[in-house]
């Protein structure tokens, strides 16, 4: 009996010293040097903000994250010469909003219509709140973009933290360190814009 127990403890020690991959390893804790991406790009005299709030379920009548859907509120407002109107346009065919998670996973925005898979009510609320591309007027434009993660099973959401499992590695990522990108037409030229996602 005593020998069996000793053998068991010894086996456990031996297993412990061989390098068994941790299924959920800590990749280094919260990095000290991590800076949020900036909230706005100033080169084109346009203020841009992208916001996320875990409490968006109240707005859409459903917990979108449970369906692997991330809602981002985008606010765009021109100033200076850009505020005169007609210079800045979001062309539906080419503005291609994308959300990049910290590990580089890129998501393309989905149509509000795709939220019908949740419920008709959610779709209606999302449709009314969506960001509508087109000409940017002086008062600016504000609305939601929706992004769906691929392979929902490999992602888990908790507030603004996403864990993504790839192979043997699970990474905890902060949505507030993710990046939104889109193309904007300024005076006829298409320009890429990048903005960091912030808390609402």
């Amino acid at each position: 009996m005593k020998q069996n127990r000793f053998a068991l403890v010894l086996a456990a020690c031996l297993l412990g010293c061989s390098s068994i991959p941790d299924p959920n390893p800590d990749l280094g804790g919260e990095p000290e040097e991590f800076n949020d991406f900036e909230a706005a790009t100033g080169e084109y005299s346009i203020n841009v903000e992208a916001e996320f709030d875990p409490g968006y379920r109240k707005l859409f009548g459903a917990e979108l994250l449970e369906y692997g859907i991330i809602a981002i509120r985008l606010k765009v407002k021109p100033y200076g010469a850009m505020a005169e109107g007609g210079l800045v346009r979001f062309l539906p065919s080419s503005w291609e909003p994308r959300l990049y998670l910290q590990d580089g996973t890129g998501l393309l925005s989905m149509d509000a219509e795709d939220l019908k898979e949740i419920s008709e009510k959610t779709y209606q609320l999302a449709f009314e709140a969506r960001f509508t591309p087109g000409n940017l007027e002086a008062e600016g434009e504000e609305g939601f973009l929706f992004f769906k993660v691929p392979n929902k099973q490999s992602f888990r959401f908790r507030d603004h933290t996403i864990t993504h499992t790839r192979g043997k590695t699970t990474r905890a990522m902060d949505l507030y360190h993710s990046l939104l990108s889109f193309n904007v037409s300024i005076d006829g030229d298409s320009k890429p814009m990048y903005v960091g996602v912030k808390p609402q």
Partner: protein, 312 residues
């Protein structure tokens, strides 16, 4: 009662034995495999091929996974795993993206045969992620011995680079990423932090940090943008170096910023005299070479002579 007295003794002996065994295992068996993995990841990284970059990523990540339970014992190897991850994503962003992103609106389901495209921006975000984590690990790795007994922790190339220069590389990665994403405030914050006060100081830092050509291009451009309003003469050198880096990358005047820099040169031409360092004849920015001296490159001409020849 006697039984109750004996049981803890066996348990304590087993635990002590286990601890001794575990410490022996980590010294004898673990550092060398990680060192070999770092070496193989570095080799894959230097090839620059997307498939090998992806393999290098898996190798570097495997070190973080296998040492996740005992990070303090492997602080140097973990730091260099993060360094390689940042560096390979930086490389992939410009020369060989292996991350994919949806190309079309209906490409949400990976199993549906949807179309995807390379994701250079995804690689930039991943670069900043790993660079930030790496810099977070720098304190733990800094000052640590690079060998335990006779065992080296690192392959020769990484040992020669050293922890401090690897951390410098991570800072330069962040500057290049922020510059490429047009985050001017963050770019300038890091440029000031590393002490890039003039062209010579920056060039020294770029060498120390083993910056790639692509990183240099974006960092030179960032310095040009930072200085062009208030100190155009200083900005000039960085603009010239940016164009020279674009040349070296084979992008030349087709580079996205070449047009902007050339326009700025033209607007500020009265502030500079461009001369060939060999024959001292004037050269034009557009020609990029001295027409009198075949083979004399424009970038060398301006770089060598601008300080002496500049006029207000």
């Amino acid at each position: 009662m006697k039984r109750a007295m004996k049981r803890p003794n066996i348990g304590i002996a087993a635990v002590v034995f286990g601890v001794l065994l575990a410490s022996g295992c980590s010294t004898l068996d673990v550092y060398e495999p990680n060192r070999e993995t770092l070496a193989s990841a570095l080799g894959d990284l230097e090839s620059g091929e997307p498939a090998k970059l992806e393999r290098a990523e898996a190798s570097a990540r495997s070190i973080l996974v296998s040492t996740g339970n005992v990070p303090k014992s492997y602080s140097v190897q973990r730091f260099f795993a993060q360094y390689l991850l940042a560096r390979l994503h930086m490389t992939a962003s410009s020369s060989g993206p292996f991350l994919q992103e949806p190309k079309e609106k209906d490409a949400f389901d990976l199993t549906a045969g949807a179309s995807f495209q390379p994701s250079p921006i995804g690689h930039l975000v991943a670069t900043s992620y790993h660079a930030a984590y790496g810099l977070g690990m720098f304190k733990a790795a800094s000052g640590q011995p690079l060998s335990v007994g006779k065992q080296k922790l690192l392959p020769p190339e990484l040992e020669a680079l050293g922890v401090e220069n690897a951390a410098r590389h991570l800072q330069l990665c962040l500057i290049a990423v922020y510059a490429r994403l047009q985050f001017d405030d963050l770019t300038n914050l890091y440029l000031n932090r590393i002490g890039a006060t003039d062209a010579e100081a920056l060039d020294r830092l770029l060498v120390e940090g083993d910056a790639s050509l692509d990183m240099k291009l974006w960092i030179y451009r960032a310095m040009w943008l930072q200085l062009k309003k208030n100190d155009p003469q200083a900005a000039y050198l960085f603009a010239a170096n940016c164009l020279a880096s674009a040349d070296d990358l084979g992008q030349g005047t087709d580079h996205v910023h070449a047009k902007a820099i050339s326009s700025w040169f033209a607007e500020n031409s009265s502030k500079f005299n461009f001369v060939c360092p060999t024959c001292k004849n004037p050269v034009t920015v557009e020609s990029r070479t001295c027409l009198a001296c075949v083979g004399s490159e424009w970038k060398d001409a301006v770089y060598q002579e601008v300080k002496a020849e500049v006029s207000n």
